[in-house]
């Protein structure tokens, strides 16, 4: 079963469309419904509208009441299967993941590093496999094509550059 679409409600709830036996179904019946409220102390534990599906799981930027700040989360559509992937910026400070895009094997997103700069990150969906791509500053724009992540940026020498990162080949990073 794969998650093919996610809905974010203003109240911070997540709902999903599942592809099951070739038929699109909304979880828990005909209407979108709450999977889990990850932060009961605020009006919204799911922040932003950036979500991406990778290998049947949905990744998003979330903040629970645990004090980890806004970090990368994943869900399989169940309460038990919804948890933080990695506390990228340790402690209460948030890495604020955004711009999530997925190839068939990797998740690419922006997140703040130790210096509080937006830097491109990559993840295979695990804590160990989630890391900063050193030196890759915030792209001006990005898109997925042919299972690769393309992004445009301005170089330190003020050139406009278009780069390609292959989705399953770490050595190309």
């Amino acid at each position: 079963m794969s998650i093919v679409k996610a809905y974010l409600h203003p109240a911070g709830t997540l709902a999903f469309l599942f592809l099951q036996m070739g038929i699109l179904t909304v979880c828990s019946g005909q209407q979108a419904s709450l999977v889990v409220d990850i932060n009961k102390t605020t009006t919204s534990g799911v922040l932003g509208n950036s979500v991406a599906a990778l290998k049947g799981l949905l990744y998003f930027s979330g903040e629970s009441q645990s004090g980890s700040g806004q970090e990368l989360w994943r869900t399989d559509g169940t309460e038990q299967g919804t948890y933080m992937v990695k506390d990228i910026k340790k402690g209460e400070k948030s890495s604020m993941p955004s711009g999530l895009k997925a190839t068939s094997g990797k998740l690419f997103f922006l997140a703040k590093n130790k210096e509080d700069k937006d830097v491109l990150h990559v993840s295979d969906g695990t804590e160990k496999g989630t890391r900063e791509l050193a030196g890759l500053i915030k792209p001006a724009a990005s898109v997925i094509m042919d299972d690769a992540y393309f992004y445009i940026r301005t170089s330190p020498f003020n050139n406009t550059e278009l780069w390609r990162l292959n989705g399953n080949e770490d050595e190309t990073f």
Binding site: A140, A141, S142, V143, I144, M145, D146, A148, F150, Y151, I152, R153, T154, S155, F157, N158, N159, T160, E161, L162, W163, R164
Partner: protein, 69 residues
């Protein structure tokens, strides 16, 4: 890296994917705008001459741009 402009060219903050091609716009100087396309390779990254391309025009609005075929 599959494309690099001359210095001081400004990128529009958008990449537009259409099938197996990605289109992007850069502004090489204050008075010009260039439309480029790539198939993901250096060899396949080409400037689309404004007088020869199949597009009747394009419009940049904020972080989006629209191609009119």
């Amino acid at each position: 890296m599959i494309f690099q402009s001359k210095p001081d060219a400004r990128p529009f903050p958008a990449l537009y994917q259409a099938g197996k091609l990605i289109y992007f716009i850069i502004q090489p100087n204050r008075d010009e705008v260039e439309l480029w396309r790539t198939d993901g390779t250096k060899e396949g990254t080409l400037l689309i001459p404004s007088s020869q391309n199949e597009f009747t025009g394009f419009e940049a609005v904020g972080d989006l741009f629209f191609l009119e075929i």
